[in-house]
Amino acid sequence: MARSLLTAPRWRSPLRGPRFTAVLGTVLLAGVTVLFVTGLVSYASYNPDLARVNDKTPGKGILGFYLFSWPTDPPWLYRLTQGVHVTLGLTLVPVLLAKLWSVLPRLFTVPPVRSLSHALERLSLLLLVGGALFQFATGILNVQLDYVFPGSFYPLHFYGAWVFFGAFLAHVVLKMPVALRNLRAMRRREPEEPGDLVVPDPGAPTLTRRGAFGLVGGASLLLFATSAGRSFDGPLRQTAVLTPHGGPEPGTGPNGFQINKTAAYAGIRPAETTAEAWRLAVTGRSGTVRLSRAELLDLPQHSAALPIACVEGWSTSDQWWRGVRLRDLAALVGEEEPTDVLVESLQRRGAFRKAALRANQVADPRSLLALAVNGEDLSPDHGHPARIIVPAAPGVLNTKWVARLTFGRL
């Protein structure tokens, strides 16, 4: 018999069945929930409700209902939540693919539509499967800087997450009872009931279910083991052999740690950052002052040990930053009370060349306009002449090559 896409393939694997699907589904239920929550946390960490420059999704409406002032404690907060988000996402790829494999026969259900409910359920499954694959694909491409997706990553991944989660919720509500029943029966070692996922005339088994779970788990472990290391420095980072920002550090010495965007890529011209040319403009209640780098070095210098943590999921351990406290700079222009600040960079491209920080971030004594790191002047790639460093803030809000600070309520 000739087989086309429209006739169902003959399913043979004796592995398929409601229990196999239930186990994978339960893992995904937990995993996807963590992905969704850490994703929402990352969205909140940008403080999109603070200023237009921080908000890549101004039309979000009620989807920003939960937003809160992003804290500065613990300082490793974003490093943890975003590391979990990206590393867990990578680790779940095999589970997602195995889950989709386990329910493939349902795609070819005959008749394709039994009732209005059934038709809507199938439409919902398109949103579920399309949404899951869309989210995984955009995330995985974005961490590799492969910007082929149709538009800016932030709105696509944020709104895509909500579309997916809408379908995911319905799927959980409708399928959870079946999954739980199957898991309970499995624990009682009862025989599997026949159902549409159980193949009626299976081929000879070539892999046990235990073996199949082992393969999925092993594949997850492999993805985890080759990517988790990029949240650490030194030998651990070397273990992330196929992952961006894995492997060796970009340089040696105090400025040798990971770089999000190089000065050359950001369009920084060496001539604008020389001691003669560069001035920091600080504006507040009492007007504007212009400070050279030497004048900044004459202000009280403070230290803070803080990590760099990127939305792409990689991070560094604490670096020892030294510079002027943001709240001291605010006081210099007459802002004695904690207030927000708009930070502008010399950089010519990048979605966050202007970024806003909230009063609680400015007020933190560890929030610096850093001039040095690990005992040496900042290198051009780490933001020379001066950069922002704020505890727990996502990397992109730690603006490099700062040119202007405007304190005041935003």
Binding site: W101, S117, L126, V163, L223
Partner: protein
């Protein structure tokens, strides 16, 4: 036929949320976004899955009735294929130029490291198979 009311209500509620986010998702280049969204599902269901199913069937057909070694090919193939699927932009070098300019890191070696990992996976699997065969020869055949 309507079907049962509870699933219907759950689905309608879900569609409302998907719709609310969906119109925002489609604010940009809506046609391309729809293509990506639906295309991801179609690409998986009608291209990727049939391809790996066909490859597996070909493998089983080659193996014939003696299927003992099949999983020694399957497992490393799945693991290596998965790494390629996830990291193909870096492995194929399609983002190398940008990666170097943006991060000051080297983009060389992703393909080499993937090939080495693949070699290690297949090599390890072959070694395991050899050990199994030797043990099988020493011991009387398993009655199961």
């Amino acid at each position: 036929m309507l079907g049962s009311p509870f699933p219907l209500l759950v689905l309608l509620c879900s569609f409302a949320l998907c719709g609310y986010a969906g119109v925002r998702l489609l604010e940009g280049d809506w046609l391309l976004v729809v293509l990506w969204f639906a295309g991801a599902a179609v690409l998986h269901d009608l291209v990727l899955a049939p391809l790996y199913l066909a490859a597996d069937r070909a493998l089983l057909a080659t193996a014939g009735p003696r299927r003992r070694w099949v999983n020694h090919v399957r497992v490393p193939a799945v693991l290596s294929g998965l790494l390629l699927l996830v990291w193909f932009p870096l492995i194929t070098g399609r983002v190398s130029e940008r990666y170097v300019r943006v991060t000051a890191l080297s983009a060389d070696g992703y393909a080499a490291r993937w090939l080495l990992l693949t070699a290690a996976l297949f090599g390890g699997s072959a070694l395991l198979y050899a050990v199994r065969v030797r043990r099988g020869r020493r011991r009387p055949p398993d009655p199961g």
